[in-house]
């Protein structure tokens, strides 16, 4: 049996107000270590909301998210921040790099925030990541001196800097051209192949098809799951299915 890296149990996320709205409505999901899962669905279906819950950026109204077996529902915001820093790496649709910092400084930012490495080690690790993503020559450039694809690769390098177990990406290719999209997806695929867990939200069915598993969300619920290269299946006992795969 594969080791579960990320598990959602009965996740519910509601927006309370004059008109309440349920974004995520009772989702159970297990993602194995080293698995590449794509979350798809129409706009407003709750796929990004689910991703934010899985990455501990948001807290559920009901249910729990377990990161590497650790329940997180009762953790304080500070403890959740610590888990985000060390166990999760985020990539967003827009690069969200700090504009005044160079590529290398942006990549080393999470390492410096964690404070577990020496300056030299952080510098070397940052360069290593940028080199592996083909950005060695752009280490000292600021985001406004890079192309869209390069910025997104820097963002991926930043997500990887603390060697997180899980990478969550919210439409990382949404603002990229075809070539860059191919590059970024290839990188994410390589990350998963290297043993890390990758969960990606995407609109692109062709890219989703390259994931190990595709989870289709409709109205905040899992509508169907599709194993890589398989035909769509009804979404029943997804966690068990993922655990067995």
């Amino acid at each position: 049996m594969s080791e579960i890296a990320l598990q959602a149990v009965g996740l519910v996320r509601r927006i309370e107000g004059a008109i309440s709205h349920t974004l995520v409505n009772g989702i159970d999901l297990s993602v194995n270590k080293g698995e590449f899962v794509a979350i798809t669905g129409p706009s407003g279906s709750g796929k990004s909301s689910l991703l934010y819950l899985l990455g501990l950026l948001d807290a559920p109204n009901e249910g729990d998210v377990m990161i590497c077996g650790q329940p997180t529902a009762k953790l304080s915001e500070t403890e959740r921040a610590d888990i985000r820093l060390t166990k999760c790496g985020f990539v967003f649709q827009f690069h969200f790099l700090l504009p005044e910092f160079t590529s290398l400084q942006n990549v080393t930012l999470p390492m410096r925030a964690a404070g577990k490495m020496s300056e030299k080690e952080m510098h070397e690790r940052g360069l290593e990541l940028l080199t592996s993503l083909g950005l060695k020559d752009h280490a000292n450039k600021r985001p406004n001196q890079l192309s869209g694809g390069q910025r997104q690769r820097v963002a991926i390098a930043r997500a990887l800097s603390n060697r997180p177990e899980i990478i969550v990406a919210d439409e990382p290719t949404g603002a990229l051209d075809t070539t860059s999209t191919e590059q970024v997806f290839g990188i994410l695929r390589d990350i998963a192949d290297s043993g890390r867990t990758v969960v990606v939200v995407t609109h692109d069915p062709a890219l989703a098809a390259r994931a190990d598993r595709r989870v289709h969300i409709v109205d905040g619920k899992i509508h169907e799951t599709i194993q890589g290269g398989q035909a769509p299946e009804p979404a029943i006992a997804i966690g068990a299915t993922a655990a067995e795969s």
């Binding site: 950026l57 915001e77 921040a81 999760c88 969200f96 700090l98 930012l109 949404g174």
Partner: protein
């Protein structure tokens, strides 16, 4: 979270907005600089005034009177007594055995003491009459208890010994009477004694009240004018530290039984005015420093507003809310610290410049420079309060900004 990282982020924020940052720093500098200048000027003028006051008068004056009415024999005899029309015993005025009292005081007093005779007199000269206070002094002992010797403008204290009826008068009084050293005036004592006195010297204390109403003569001369031979009705004390005069006066009074008035007590109304002035000045300076921090508040508010996305990203990467908040506090501290450093320089230059400004003194007719008191405490207090105001000004916008939920910003940006 490493402070260096937070400092680096803060530094990039403030250096990326040079004009705004400079405006903020200038605000702090102005506040600190003018506060230091005001403090130096206020304290300088106050110290100068007090110095003049203390130099002009004895630190403690022992008078031949009691603070309270002496206990009557009937009080000592009966538990409750009603008395009316009590007639005082016609005791001889003056301090009893002044030499013994002085010897006793000199054994422990941190300073010196000298006897004198104080009486009132009228100067009759040129058809005009002016009431004055005549103090009979010993010219040899006087320099130990007063600054009269250094205040002499013409003649010397020792010139009093040239004639038994010689007097030294204030320069302002001399102008009023149109007399010069060598001239004579008629002095009329309390009991109608008329003596022709020769003016042998002029002094200037800088205080109008003294320069127009105080004259000095020999002890014996004052006794004649008072009509009490051999009397000493005042002991004047000068202390090494004038600030302890109040405590010493209490001690002296307890020992001698005579009313001992310190210079603080004699000028209590003036000193209480100083206290009110100090309070007003401190309030104004506090307001200046607080107002100068508003510029910092504006800058931090602007930065936090512009950097909402960065804040969201830093929080999403796992930086704690407290750490992100510290970034803006550090930014404010950077603006404040640099502003304070320039404020110190500005404050010093202002003090230096103002100390070269002279004001015409109508009494003395001289151009007197503004008195500035230089104290490191002014710099420390102004800097400390300013830094506190700056960081306080940053705290609220920083707290508001860092409480933003990252998902809201990320969704908005997406």
């Amino acid at each position: 979270m490493t402070t260096k990282l937070l400092f680096d982020i803060a530094w990039t924020h403030v250096t990326a907005r040079v004009r705004q940052t400079l405006v903020g720093m200038a605000g702090v500098s102005m506040g600190v600089g003018f506060t230091i200048m005001m403090a130096g000027l206020m304290e300088g003028s106050q110290i100068d005034f007090l110095r003049q006051l203390v130099d002009t008068m004895p630190h403690i004056t022992i008078q031949d009177e009691r603070r309270s009415v002496p206990t009557q024999p009937a009080d000592q005899e009966y538990g409750a007594v009603q008395m009316s029309n009590v007639t005082n015993l016609n005791n001889r005025p003056g301090i009893k055995y002044p030499e013994s009292v002085m010897a006793s005081l000199r054994s422990w007093l941190p300073g010196d003491v000298t006897p004198s005779v104080r009486t009132t007199a009228i100067i009759d000269h040129g058809g005009g009459r002016i009431g004055v206070t005549l103090t009979g002094i010993d010219p040899r002992q006087e320099p130990r208890v007063s600054k009269l010797a250094s205040q002499m403008r013409e003649g010397q204290i020792a010139d009093l010994s040239r004639a038994p009826n010689a007097i030294i008068i204030g320069e302002a009084l001399a102008q009023k009477l149109a007399v010069k050293p060598g001239n004579t005036v008629i002095l009329i004592g309390g009991k109608g004694t008329e003596v022709t006195s020769s003016v042998v010297g002029l002094f200037r204390s800088g205080m109008k009240r003294v320069d127009e109403g105080q004259i000095y003569g020999l002890t014996g001369f004052a006794q004649i004018m008072m009509g009490q031979s051999g009397i000493v009705n005042e002991l004047r004390l000068r202390l090494n530290d004038p600030l302890i005069a109040q405590q010493v006066a209490t001690q002296v009074e307890a020992q001698t039984g005579y009313k001992s008035v310190s210079w603080q007590e004699a000028n209590a109304d003036l000193l209480s005015t100083f206290a009110v002035r100090d309070f007003i000045v401190l309030t104004v300076m506090g307001a200046m420093l607080l107002t100068s921090s508003f510029a910092t508040y504006n800058i931090i508010s602007t930065i936090t507003h512009e950097k909402r996305q960065d804040i969201a990203i830093m929080k999403s990467l796992g930086m704690r809310e407290y750490s992100v908040r510290r970034i803006f506090i550090i930014e404010s501290a950077i603006i404040g610290t640099v502003g304070i450093l320039f404020g110190w320089i500005l404050g010093y230059l202002l003090c230096y410049g103002w100390s070269h400004i002279t004001i015409y003194n109508m009494l003395t007719g001289a151009n007197v420079p503004l008195q500035i008191y230089y104290s490191p405490m002014h710099y420390i207090v102004a800097g400390g309060i300013s830094l506190l105001c700056c960081t306080g000004a940053a705290f609220f916008p920083a707290r508001k900004a860092t409480r933003v939920h990252p998902v809201e910003i990320i969704r908005g940006a997406s």
